[in-house]
C-alpha cells in the first residue's frame, strides 16, 4: 500500500468519490520540502519558453549545470538559424561567486555578439546570481549600448517561485521586444500564435492552416521564433494563446497596451483544432470568405483523416489512460482526444494547473477519474495500478515508471518525435498511442500475465484457445506450455 503525504491529500480529488466535482483542489502551492516532486524551477520555466527564439543568443549566467541540463533538450525546430541550439554559459567558479560575475558576463556577451551577430540576446539569471547580487540589468544595458542589439535580462533565479514565475519572467523579457518593429505592412486579418513551441514542426502545420484561411501569422511565440517578428507582433489584430499557463501573461500585456484581444485555443484533437480555426474566422467577420474557407478546410482535413482514425478507434476502444503533463490546458485536449479514440481517462494530473483548470477538468472527466496536482512517482504508480490503465501520457520522468509497470507510453512533452498538433497530428497521436498500447511486448508483462481478469476476458473470446498449463515449477509469468518435451510423430506424406 502506497501512502500519501498528509499535506498532499488536498491536492488529489476523485470525481464522484468522497470528493466530487464541487470539491476544490488545492494547487498553486510550492511543493512540500522532502517530497519527490516532478516539478522544476523558475529558470526552467523561462528557459523552455524563450529557448525556441532561434536567432537570439541565449546565455545562462550561472554555474555550468543550469546550462548543461537545458542544452538542446527541447525538440523545438527552426526553419533557419540554429544558434539557439548551442549551450552558452558563464560557468561561474568560486572566485566569481566571491568577487561577482558581472565582468565575466559582460566579456562573454561582447565576445559572443561580435562572433554570432544575433538579433537579440537573452541573459538568464540563475539561483546564485540572485544571491551574489550581480546587477545583470546594468550589464545588459551597457552591452546593448555597445552592440546596438536588445540585450534582455531574464529574472529567472530558480528559488524565486515556481516554474510559472519563470514563464512570467520570460514574458516580461519578450515584452521588451514587442512594439519596437514596423507594423505598416501587416494585413488587417492577422494573428499571433502564442504558446506554440514548434515541437517536431507543429507550428509549421498550424501556420499553414491559418495561411489557407487567408490570415497572416505575424509572429509565433516562440516556436521557430524570430526576433524581428516578435518586435512587430503588436501589429496583429488577434492573439491566439495555446499554452495558456506560459503565455497568457504576455497576451494580457499586449491587450492592455496595444488593444489586441486574445483567445485561448488548443491545436490538439479535431474538436479543439477546428474550434481554434473558427475562433479566428469568427473574429474576422468583416470577411465572410474566411469562415467559408475555414469550414472547407475542416471538412477537407477531417475527411482525410477520419477513416484512419476509425481504424485506430476500433483497436483502442475501452482502453484506459493516465495523463500527467506540465500544463493543465493540454490535459483538457487530451481527455477529449482520448474520448474520440474510444478511450477513457482514469487518472489526470498536472504540474502547474490552477483552480479554474482543475474545476474544468472535473467537469469534463468521467466519474471515478482521479485528478491530481503536482504528483510524485509513487502516487502516479499507485493510481495507474489501481485503475489498471493501458497508457500513460507524460514526460521524461514518467516514461520509465510506466514501462516498469508494463504500461504503454506516449510522450506529449519535449521529447515527442512526431507532430501531434493539427489534423495530421491527431492521426500521428492515434498511431503512436496504438503502437504503444497494442505492442506485443505487454503480453509478456508480468502485470498483465498475472491478471486473472485478463485471462477471463480471453476465455470468452471465440478465437482464444486456452494454452496448456505450465509446469508450475518455473516463473509465474512464463508462457504456459512452452519448453516441455512432447512426443514428435511423423506425419505420413
Amino acid at each position: 500500500m502506497i501512502e500519501l503525504l498528509p499535506d498532499r491529500e488536498k491536492q488529489i480529488v476523485r470525481k464522484g468519490g468522497d470528493s466530487d466535482a464541487t470539491t476544490e483542489i488545492a494547487c498553486g502551492k510550492a511543493s512540500t520540502a522532502g517530497a519527490v516532486s516532478q516539478r522544476a524551477c523558475v529558470f526552467c520555466g523561462s528557459r523552455v519558453v524563450l529557448y525556441p527564439v532561434a536567432d537570439a543568443l541565449h546565455v545562462v549566467h550561472g554555474p555550468i549545470g543550469c546550462a548543461a541540463y537545458t542544452w538542446d533538450i527541447r525538440g523545438s525546430q527552426s526553419s533557419g538559424p540554429q544558434l539557439y541550439r548551442h549551450s552558452f554559459s558563464t560557468d561561474l567558479q568560486e572566485m566569481d561567486v566571491i568577487y561577482g560575475g558581472e565582468k565575466k558576463l559582460e566579456a562573454a556577451l561582447l565576445e559572443l555578439i561580435e562572433h554570432h551577430q544575433p538579433k537579440a540576446a537573452f541573459i538568464y539569471s540563475t539561483c546564485i546570481v540572485g544571491i551574489i547580487g550581480d546587477d545583470v540589468s546594468a550589464v545588459c544595458k551597457r552591452v546593448a549600448a555597445k552592440t546596438g542589439i536588445p540585450v534582455l535580462g531574464v529574472h529567472s533565479e530558480g528559488f524565486k517561485g515556481t516554474k510559472k514565475d519563470g514563464y512570467k519572467a520570460a514574458c516580461e523579457a519578450l515584452y521588451k521586444l514587442v512594439g519596437t518593429g514596423d507594423t505598416s505592412s501587416i494585413s488587417p486579418h492577422s494573428i499571433n500564435i502564442l504558446g506554440e513551441f514548434n515541437l517536431a514542426g507543429e507550428a509549421w502545420i498550424i501556420r499553414d492552416y491559418y495561411k489557407r484561411l487567408g490570415i497572416e501569422v505575424v509572429s509565433t511565440l516562440t516556436g521557430d521564433g524570430r526576433v524581428d517578428d516578435i518586435r512587430r507582433s503588436h501589429g496583429a489584430k488577434l492573439n491566439l494563446v495555446q499554452c495558456s499557463g506560459s503565455m497568457t501573461y504576455l497576451a494580457k500585456m499586449m491587450e492592455r497596451d496595444h488593444g489586441i484581444p486574445f483567445k485561448r485555443v488548443s491545436y490538439f484533437g479535431i474538436e479543439d483544432m477546428s474550434a481554434a480555426l473558427y475562433e479566428a474566422a469568427k473574429f474576422f467577420k468583416d470577411d465572410p470568405t474566411i469562415m467559408a474557407r475555414a469550414q472547407e478546410l475542416v471538412r477537407e482535413e477531417v475527411a482525410t483523416i477520419y477513416p484512419e482514425l476509425q481504424r485506430f478507434k476500433q483497436k483502442l476502444i475501452g482502453k484506459k489512460a493516465a495523463i500527467y503533463v506540465g500544463g493543465s490546458f493540454k490535459a483538457f485536449s487530451l481527455v477529449r482526444i482520448l474520448r474520440m479514440l474510444g478511450m477513457e481517462t482514469a487518472v489526470v494530473g498536472s504540474q502547474t494547473g490552477d483552480k479554474d483548470d482543475y474545476r474544468q477538468l472535473q467537469e469534463i472527466c468521467d466519474p471515478g477519474t482521479i485528478i491530481v496536482d503536482d504528483a510524485n512517482p509513487l502516487e502516479l504508480a499507485k493510481f495507474c495500478l489501481e485503475k489498471d490503465v493501458d497508457l500513460f501520457i507524460g514526460g521524461v520522468k514518467e516514461r520509465p515508471i510506466a514501462y516498469k509497470l508494463g504500461i504503454g507510453f506516449c510522450d506529449h512533452n519535449h521529447e515527442r518525435k512526431e507532430p501531434l498538433a493539427g489534423y495530421v497530428g491527431m492521426v500521428n497521436f492515434a498511431k503512436e498511442v496504438y503502437a504503444s498500447v497494442a505492442s506485443p511486448v505487454w503480453q509478456f508483462a508480468p502485470r498483465r500475465a498475472n491478471r486473472a481478469a485478463v485471462l477471463a476476458r480471453l476465455a470468452n473470446d471465440p478465437d482464444f484457445k486456452p494454452a496448456p498449463k505450465g509446469c508450475g515449477n518455473c516463473l509465474p509469468e512464463c508462457t504456459p506450455g512452452d519448453g516441455q518435451f512432447v512426443r514428435a510423430t511423423l506425419v505420413p506424406a
Binding site: 503525504l5 499535506d7 511543493s31 512540500t32 520540502a33 522532502g34 517530497a35 519527490v36 516532486s37 516539478r39 522544476a40 524551477c41 523558475v42 529558470f43 526552467c44 550561472g62 554555474p63 555550468i64 549545470g65 543550469c66 541540463y69 537545458t70 542544452w71 540554429q82 544558434l83 548551442h86 549551450s87 552558452f88 554559459s89 558563464t90 560557468d91 561561474l92 567558479q93 568560486e94 566569481d96 561567486v97 566579456a107 562573454a108 565576445e111 539561483c127 546564485i128 540572485g130 530558480g158 528559488f159 524565486k160 517561485g161 516554474k163 512517482p377 509513487l378 521524461v396 520522468k397 516514461r399 520509465p400 515508471i401 514501462y403 516498469k404 508494463g406 508480468p446 502485470r447 498483465r448
Partner: protein
Amino acid sequence: MLNGTTAEIKPREALRINPAKTCQPIGAMYAALGINGCMPHSHGSQGCCSYHRSHLTRHFKEPVVATTSSFTEGASVFGGLANMTQALSNIFTIYNPKIVAVHTTCLSEVIGDDIPMMIKKAKEEKIIPDGKYVIHANTPSFVGSHVTGFASMVTGMVKYLAEASGKSEAQLKAEPQLNVIPGYIDPADMRELKRIIKEMGVKTVMFPDTSGVLDLPQDGQYRMFPSGGATIEEIKSSGDSVGTIALGHFASHPAAIELDEKCKVPSALLELPYGLTNTDKFIHALRTHGGVDVPGSIGQERGRLLDAMSDMHQYFHGKRVAIVGDPDHVIALTQFLVELDMKPAYVFTGSSGKHFEQRLTEILGNHAPDAMIKQNVDLFELHQQIKNNPVDLIIGNTYSKYISRVENIPFVRFGFPVLDRMGHRYFPAVGYMGALRLMEKINDALLDHKDRECAEENFELIQ
C-alpha cells in the same frame, strides 16, 4: 547547426560553449543511488533536483527518485534549516528509506548552510528515527564537476559509515574481505565487476553499487527503493577490510584515501579497468590482495580479447582519434587505444585536474607525442581543433554527435551521458568482455563509415 563553429581559435576566458561536464550535485545523486534503500536529497531549489532526475533518467532509462528542500526566497534569506528539518521529517515519515544522502547546491552553499549541524539537530530532535542514517556531501556547483560531486559523496559514505570494529589482524585475515570502489561507471559495469570478482572467488564489498537499482527488470511494480545497492552494513564493514581497490583517480581514490586515514585500510589505487592492461591490473590486484588464483575461465576471457585484438589490429593502426569525457574514463580508454595501436590526437576533459594531463602525457609519451591533452575544455574547442586537423574517429558522450554529423566523422558513444542509444544500459565496457565490446563498436563505426562513403571500386564484401 554547428557550422557556426569556426576554425579560427581565439582565447576565451569568460565563456563556456557546449560544455563537456556538468555540475557536482548530479554526481552526488548518482553515487547516493548506489546505497541500498537510500533517498538522495538535494538541499536547494527544486529545479536542481528535477533536472538531475531527468538527466539521469535520460541516461539510464530508469525511474530516479530524489527529494528536494524546495528552497524559496525565504529560505535563501533565513537559511535552509527549516526546509531541511521539514524535508527529513517528511522523508522518514512517508518514504521511509534506510538512509538519506544529502548533497548541497550552489544556493545552499552560498548562503552558508551548515549541513552537519542540521543533521546533528535533526538527530537530537528525533526527526531522524533510531537506526536510520543521514550522510552528506558538500557539492557546490561552482566548484569541480559531476565527477568531483560523485567522489565527494563516496567519500561521505566512508566518513559517516565506515568503521573499524577493532578485530585483531588475525581475525580479519582469517576471512579476508576487500573493498572495491568502482568509480563513476554504469550499473552494467558494476554488475560486470561483481561477476569478475565472483569468478575470482574473492569476498568483496563494493560501494557505491547501482546495479539492481538502475538496471531493473520489468516486474510490473514500481519500487522507490529497489533491492540493489551496497547495504549500510556492508559499507560499515569496509573499515574492517584487508584492503581497498579504488578504480579511478578522480572518482574513487579520494574515498580510498579517506578510508585509509580513518580505518587504516591500505589501498591499491588503480585506473578504470577498460581494455587489456587496466583489466590485467584489476585482476592482479584481486589475486594478490584477495589471496586467490586466477581461474581458467578468466584466462580464457583474456585470451579471447587478445585474439580479437589480433583479428582487428589491421583496421586500427594509426587511426587518429579524438577522445573527450570524464577524466577517469578518458585516461583508461586512452591506454586501451594505445594498445590497439590507434593514435589519440585530442584527449580532452571538461573537468579540471593536473593529474589528467600528467598521466596522459605518460601514457602517450612515446606513442603519440603530438597528441593534444587538455583539461577544463569544452566541445566547442574540440570542434575547432578538429576543423583545423581532422580525426578518423570521435569517442565521447552523446553531445559529441553534433561534431560527428557536421564533420562526417565516425563516432562511438562512451561515458556519461548517453542520451540517444540504449546499449550502455545492458552491456558493460569494463573487463575483458567489456573491452571486446568497445573494440567491436570502434571497428563497426570505422567500417560502416567506409562502406557508406568509399568509392564503388573500393567497396568490399569481405573485410
